[in-house]
């Protein structure tokens, strides 16, 4: 059973990791979390992103939410912001795609162009 005492240990471990972060990547991943996004499956997408980052020990990427951009039929929508680069918007993302976006784009630096809004037919 998880206890608050355990959280103290997590704090210490996390603090060590934070101190080790020499150069922050500043990468941000935003998942559309309005009614349309949630109904289309944004929550499992967000959890998959979190899980994949965690599995790969990536601790300096910020995961957040964004509102509705008026393209509800393309939800779940995921935006990836890499400093110095243009924002990449992925549409109709599912858990599997989300994990691949983390690996290919966020970690390896290669956006998956065929899943982006520009290439949606």
């Amino acid at each position: 059973m998880k206890s608050i005492e355990e959280l103290e240990r997590i704090r210490k471990e996390t603090l060590e990791k934070i101190n080790l972060r020499k150069d922050r990547t500043g990468i941000r991943i935003a998942v559309g979390m309005a009614t349309c996004g949630i109904a289309a499956g944004a929550r499992p997408v967000m959890m998959a992103i979190l899980d994949e980052l965690s599995k790969r020990n990536v601790t300096d990427v910020i995961v957040t939410e964004t509102g509705c951009i008026g393209m509800c039929k393309l939800e779940p929508i995921v935006d990836v912001y890499v400093p110095g680069q243009e924002k990449v918007t992925y549409v109709k993302v599912d858990e599997k795609k989300a994990r691949q976006i983390v690996v290919e784009h966020v970690i390896n630096g290669h956006p998956i162009r065929e899943w982006t809004i520009e290439n949606y037919e």
């Binding site: 608050i4 355990e6 996390t14 309005a34 959890m47 965690s54 957040t64 939410e65 509102g67 509705c68």
Partner: protein, 177 residues
């Protein structure tokens, strides 16, 4: 939507957009009364009387990106489909409270679902907001309060992945009754 937890996530997202500092979520199951109550309360900007009257209309929204606002109407529809009662209270500058009282034995009642993912999603959406989540099932009670965690975590933010993983497990474990 197939889980109460998704409706709760959707309604609490409204609280975040209303710039709430505190969100209170309650799920209260009373088998002897054949009742399941869901409550979401915030201290956000609230609504004036005019908007409050219209907010259950799916063609009313404060958004500019689209002309429909389905979060509250969806929840109201679900509650009423289950033979329950939907209530909304709001005061401009003070906050909003939404309550759905369901008939527990209703065949249309959907499962509570994954509240741990809903809470983690809300923390990711705005790590500065304090969330209190109370889950009651007859004699059993679980109280989750981000303020309590902040005290332990000090300079470590709630949206650190290691912390979120712990929170997710912690809620999951305490919901298994």
């Amino acid at each position: 939507m197939k889980e109460l937890a998704l409706y709760i996530l959707d309604l609490a997202q409204n609280s975040i957009r209303a710039e709430a500092k505190n969100i209170y979520i309650e799920i209260n199951i009373d088998t002897s009364k054949d009742m399941l109550k869901v409550c979401i309360e915030d201290d956000g900007c609230g609504m004036n009387e005019e908007l409050l009257k219209k907010v259950v209309d799916p063609f009313v929204t404060t958004r500019k990106e689209r002309k429909v606002g389905l979060g509250i109407p969806f929840f109201k529809e679900l509650v009423e489909q289950c033979g329950g009662k939907f209530e909304i209270f709001s005061e401009e500058g003070k906050g909003t409270k939404i309550r759905g009282t369901f008939k527990l034995s209703s065949i249309d009642l959907i499962p509570i679902g994954d509240m741990s993912s809903t809470i983690v999603s809300l923390i990711l959406s705005d790590p500065e907001i304090d969330i209190v989540y109370r889950f009651k099932k007859d004699e059993y009670e679980f109280l989750f309060d981000t303020k309590q965690f902040r005290k332990v975590l000090k300079e470590v933010s709630l949206n650190e992945i290691s912390v979120l993983n712990w929170i997710r497990e912690y809620v999951k474990e305490n919901m298994e009754v």
